[in-house]
């Protein structure tokens, strides 16, 4: 591993962000990354955060047209309420703050506590929960579906709405609509090694893959003998489409988990497009790359979002962040 000691990986990465992105204010001590021009007068602010290890999510999406601030936690551990409250206070222009929260027990509890504390400080907070992973059965017997790739769609599209000057309730409604219109499915070809443990979190022999994984090295629902890119695309895209509301074109995110080369990812993207064509689904926009990752895990995920004209327009709107930038 390219680290000094496990205890400082998050702080070291934040120092690197500070050195590389003068357009961001990076508070290494308190672990808050804020766009330098915040608060932006007249605009709703977006704050997200989560465990580290999913880079560029979330700090890589801070900037005009997307997040106002991000709060990185320890590796695969949600941040603490103090971080979110500090971030919200730093970015609030008086128009209110939207928390974008991935549906994991830790994230939900910490953001909930943060929202209560921020409320006591007089800030207006709305929360949107992202839960797009179809591999988890949403029932009384689980913590509910995980938030994965759709987080990128929510942050980009709601960020664009805020940038246009939409009020807080409208930005929150758009964020929820994006989440409800999105579904994801992920596959691991290798396990993941956290700096703290230094060895693979689960044992996945070469020649096997794990279907329905999350983004924390939690094992999936089913293990099979290795499949081809074509077979994986069939499985993943069909799993997503079977759960996605019908009708209309889609935004497609062909996402790498961190350890799969872009060469393979683009080949997989071709197979994803093939399956969508076969199922009669029109693709409005495609994004290929490592955006919602799981440290060094090899593998991929597919996220589809049913997008009407408004959502496509907001997707195309200018964005200027370390990891996503176009239109400016």
């Amino acid at each position: 591993m390219l680290i000094n000691v496990p205890e400082t990986v998050v702080a070291d990465a934040l120092r690197g962000m500070a050195a590389s992105h003068p357009e961001l204010t990076v508070d290494v001590e308190n672990r808050v990354v804020v766009r330098r021009d915040a608060p932006v007068a007249g605009k709703v602010a977006l704050v997200s955060g989560g465990g580290s290890g999913h880079e560029p999510l979330h700090a890589g999406f801070v900037g005009p047209g997307m997040l106002s601030a991000a709060c990185p936690g320890e590796v695969f551990t949600s941040p603490v309420p103090d971080q979110m409250v500090r971030a919200a206070a730093a970015v609030d222009s008086g128009e209110g703050v939207l928390f974008v929260v991935k549906n994991y027990t830790g994230d939900v509890l910490n953001f909930e506590m943060a929202a209560e504390l921020a409320d006591e400080e007089g800030l207006r907070i709305e929360q949107v929960l992202v839960d797009d992973d179809v591999a988890v059965t949403d029932s009384l017997y689980t913590a509910g579906r995980r938030g994965t790739g759709a987080t990128l769609f929510v942050e980009k599209i709601a960020g664009a709405a805020a940038d246009e000057g939409a009020p807080l309730d409208r930005v929150a409604a758009i964020a929820r609509r994006v989440n409800e219109s999105s579904r994801s499915f992920g596959v691991a070809l290798s396990s993941v090694t956290t700096p703290a443990k230094g060895s693979p979190t689960f044992d996945l022999p070469a020649g096997e893959l794990e279907l329905g994984i999350g983004i924390h090295g939690e094992p999936g629902r089913e293990r099979r003998a290795m499949m081809t890119s074509r077979e994986i695309a069939d499985f993943a895209v069909n799993a997503v489409l079977d759960d996605l509301r019908p009708g209309g074109p889609v935004l497609a995110l062909v996402n790498g988990m961190g350890g799969t080369p872009l060469l393979e990812l683009y080949g997989f993207g071709a197979e994803v497009h093939r399956v969508l064509r076969e199922r009669g689904v029109v693709v409005a926009r495609t994004l290929v790359g490592n955006y919602v990752t799981s440290l060094d895990m090899a593998g991929c995920s597919v996220t589809l979002c049913r997008a009407d004209e408004e959502l496509v327009r907001l997707w195309d709107a200018p964005v200027e962040t370390p990891a996503l930038r176009w239109g400016r």
């Binding site: 496990p6 465990g51 936690g73 320890e74 590796v75 695969f76 551990t77 949600s78 941040p79 603490v80 309420p81 103090d82 994991y104 027990t105 830790g106 509890l109 910490n110 909930e112 506590m113 591999a135 988890v136 059965t137 009384l140 017997y141 689980t142 913590a143 995980r146 956290t194 703290a196 443990k197 979190t201 689960f202 999350g214 924390h216 090295g217 939690e218 094992p219 629902r221």
Partner: protein, 204 residues
């Protein structure tokens, strides 16, 4: 009676046990979670020790409230809010008394555990920390040692359970056959309590 110093030493003892068993907790967590439970709690209880040393609170309730706040501010994940709430609500239930009995503590801990159940939405048998804490609260009415034994037995009894809450729930049936890391760390907290009572000499 148990005074602020007793509660202070309990927290230090808990920090010691968490530090000693951190790797074991992380190992359990890598089977059905994400391999960080030990390191997260170690960071949290180290912060608790530091905060208590800096400005030792004067009542049992204040010791637990301060410890709970520290955990919420430093642990993250689900463990931070859950353990933080457990200690804060137990501390609040103890009120401002300068010293409390074992029975007082058992009652207050019961309120703390109820708050954890409400916050996390979990019940007995969901394969969570509650499976160690609920039997421990009952047994603490008898003795500290009984509380420790009940917590440990409760943690061990999570092995055949299927997780219904938290990250392990994503595994469904595949969570069966593994001891729950949260129940295991909760048993350490109760073991630290019994250790502290024994070091103090005799039952309170």
């Amino acid at each position: 009676m148990l005074d602020a110093d007793f509660f202070h030493r309990w927290m230090i003892a808990a920090a010691g046990l968490v530090d000693r068993d951190a790797e074991h907790l992380t190992e359990l967590d890598s089977a059905i979670g994400d391999a960080d439970h030990g390191s997260n709690l170690r960071r949290g209880f180290a912060a608790v020790s530091a905060a208590l040393a800096k400005e030792p609170p004067q009542t049992p309730g204040a010791v637990l409230s301060l410890a709970g706040r520290q955990l919420i501010s430093t642990v993250g994940g689900a463990s931070g809010p859950l353990y933080g709430t457990l200690l804060r609500r137990t501390g609040k239930a103890l009120g401002g008394a300068p010293a409390v009995s074992r029975a007082d503590l058992a009652r207050a801990l019961g309120e703390g555990v109820a708050a954890v159940s409400q916050l996390g939405g979990a019940q007995a048998g969901d394969k969570t920390m509650l499976d160690a804490l609920l039997p421990a609260v009952d047994a603490l009415g008898t003795s500290f040692a009984a509380g420790r034994d009940a917590a440990r037995a409760g943690a061990e009894a999570t092995v055949p359970l299927r997780a219904r809450k938290g990250r392990a729930s994503y595994l469904g049936e595949r969570s069966v056959g593994h001891q729950d890391p949260g129940a295991t760390s909760a048993a350490l907290l109760i073991a630290a309590l019994a250790d502290t009572a024994e070091t103090a000499g005799g039952e309170a």
